[in-house]
Every structure is written in structure tokens, then in C-alpha cells.
């Protein structure tokens, strides 16, 4: 768990240092964005590598685990879309960008930067909201598992294939851990496709 905490702190620090330097130096976004795009492609490419590395484990997982993993993925997407719509309306936020922020499913390093290409405020919401979702999963999964049941794996979203896999396996068992992994892999493949499509609706 310590490594996950260190990784989260590193990204928060990088984000905070960026904000401070950005506020002081006031660079033109158009001079920063070409580099941001390049790093975004690298982050998505690296996520693809991790999915490729897990593929064999998933192929051997068995039908029941695959079916439940698929059900968790569909539930995650349904929950994200409904929640995004519920959040956007009363707060007066852009509807589809808020749905995108929710569809990030905990993948803050993609969602935040992607949304900041459209709006700085939505970028912050996408980043902080999804970072918090990952942190809440790490902290509250044992409680959620008791209150809701195994469906609480959905709280981990895309992070259930890496960062939150440990806590899911520890408190719900290796089979549910594998189901979470199926969900994480599928969401990692779907999010880079869904977010741009929804943003342009």
C-alpha cells in the first residue's frame, strides 16, 4: 500500500508544482498543450502495455469470472453516466464534460489532463475527483464490501487492474480480485475511446 500512497503523493506534488509555476509564469496554454498531448499519448500507450501484459492471466480466468467482470464493467459505465448527469445539472457544469469526468473511473492521470484540453476547471474536477475516487477505494473498500457486497469492486473502476487490486484481493478474495482485474482492463481499453466520443456530443 505504501507504494500506491507514494505514487499518489508524487502526482499531487507534480500537479501542485505545475499550478504554482503556471500561476507565476502564466504560460500560454497553446505553448504547453503540444507537450501535454505527447505525454497523454505515452500514458495511454503505457496503459495499453499493461493491458497486454495481463491478457494471458485474463484468458485463463474462466467463464464465471469473465461474465462477472463484464457485468461490473457495464455497471461502472452505467453508474458513471447517471452520476455525471446528476452532478452536472444542479452545479451548472457542462453536461457531457461532467459525464466524462465521471467516466474517468478513477483514471485521474488520463481524465484530468484530457478534460483540461477543453476547460481548466473541468480538468481540475476530472483530476481531483478521480484521484479521490482511487483514494476512497483504497481506504473504504473493506467497509463498502461489507455494506454493499462484491459489487463494490466497481468503486475501484479502472484502477482495479493495478492500484486498488491489492485491497480488493485482500478483502474480497482472489476470485473477486480477478473479476476486478477484468473490469480494470476493459475500462482501461474503453476510457480513451469513450471520453473523446462523449466530449464531442
Amino acid at each position: 500500500m505504501r507504494e500506491e500512497l507514494r505514487a499518489a503523493l508524487r502526482t499531487v506534488l507534480a500537479f501542485s508544482v505545475g499550478i504554482v509555476i503556471g500561476a507565476l509564469a502564466r504560460p500560454e496554454p497553446s505553448s504547453v498543450l503540444p507537450y501535454a498531448y505527447l505525454f497523454l499519448y505515452l500514458v495511454v500507450g503505457a496503459a495499453g502495455v499493461y493491458v497486454g501484459l495481463s491478457w494471458r492471466k485474463l484468458l485463463n480466468a474462466g467463464r464465471r469470472i469473465a461474465v462477472r467482470g463484464l457485468a461490473f464493467t457495464a455497471s461502472a459505465i452505467a453508474g458513471d453516466v447517471v452520476a455525471g448527469l446528476i452532478i452536472a445539472v444542479p452545479l451548472g457544469l457542462p453536461l457531457w464534460l461532467t459525464v466524462d469526468a465521471a467516466l474517468g473511473s478513477g483514471w485521474y492521470s488520463f481524465t484530468g489532463p484530457f478534460l483540461s484540453l477543453f476547460s481548466a476547471a473541468m480538468g481540475v474536477i476530472g483530476f481531483v475527483g478521480n484521484q479521490l475516487r482511487e483514494d476512497l477505494t483504497l481506504a473504504l473498500f473493506p467497509l463498502l464490501k461489507e455494506v454493499i457486497g462484491e459489487g463494490s469492486v466497481v468503486m475501484g473502476g479502472a484502477t482495479s487492474m493495478d492500484t486498488t487490486l491489492g485491497v480488493i484481493t485482500r478483502y474480497a478474495g482472489p476470485e473477486v480480485g480477478l473479476e476486478g482485474m477484468v473490469q480494470g482492463v476493459l475500462l482501461t481499453l474503453l476510457i480513451p475511446v469513450l471520453l473523446p466520443a462523449v466530449a464531442h456530443m
Binding site: 500561476a23 509564469a25 502495455v49 461490473f72 452520476a83 481548466a120 476547471a121 459489487g151 468503486m155
Partner: protein, 96 residues
């Protein structure tokens, strides 16, 4: 000229192929992928911070909305999804 989406899909597909190739090997390339992934995440998050920082004055007035929306995005989607998933699982296993 390729669009942002097209390059994203190509990056994902290329990464997937590299991952599949690496999964057949002795696993020596995984550490390099970890390094590239960590460095690119930090660089991406930093550059995103630069963009947000440069527009800090314009979004300062939305501070409360941003905080409320961030907390809601952290809690609501995962919670709703979990309840839907649990209902699906119980229905499926109840019917089995």
C-alpha cells in the same frame, strides 16, 4: 493530419501489441515500461498543472463548484455503479 482521438487509439493499440509481445518474454522490458509510465504521468500532470495555473485567476470564482463537483465525482459514480453491479450479481445468482 491525425486527430487527437485517432492518435489516442493508435497509442493504445500500439501499447497493447507491445504488452502482448512482452508477456511472451522473460519480463525484462516491464521495468522500462514502469519507468516510462511513471515519468510520462508526472510530466503530463505537471503540464496540466501549468495550464490550470495559468488560468487560475479565471477559475478562482468557481472554487466552491470545483470542490463540490470533485467530491461528488469521487463518491457518486462508484457508489451508483457498485449498487447496480450488486443488484445484477444477486439477480443473476438468484436466478441461477
Amino acid at each position: 493530419m491525425l486527430s487527437l482521438e485517432e492518435i489516442l487509439y493508435m497509442s493504445l493499440a500500439a501499447g497493447l501489441l507491445v504488452g502482448l509481445a512482452l508477456s511472451r518474454g522473460p519480463g525484462k522490458g516491464v521495468r522500462a515500461v514502469d519507468l516510462i509510465s511513471t515519468a510520462s504521468i508526472l510530466a503530463l500532470v505537471f503540464s496540466m498543472g501549468l495550464v490550470v495555473g495559468s488560468e487560475l485567476i479565471s477559475i478562482r470564482g468557481q472554487a466552491i463548484t470545483i470542490v463540490v463537483a470533485s467530491v461528488a465525482i469521487a463518491v457518486l459514480p462508484g457508489l451508483l455503479g457498485s449498487l447496480i453491479a450488486e443488484a445484477l450479481v444477486r439477480r443473476h445468482e438468484g436466478g441461477a
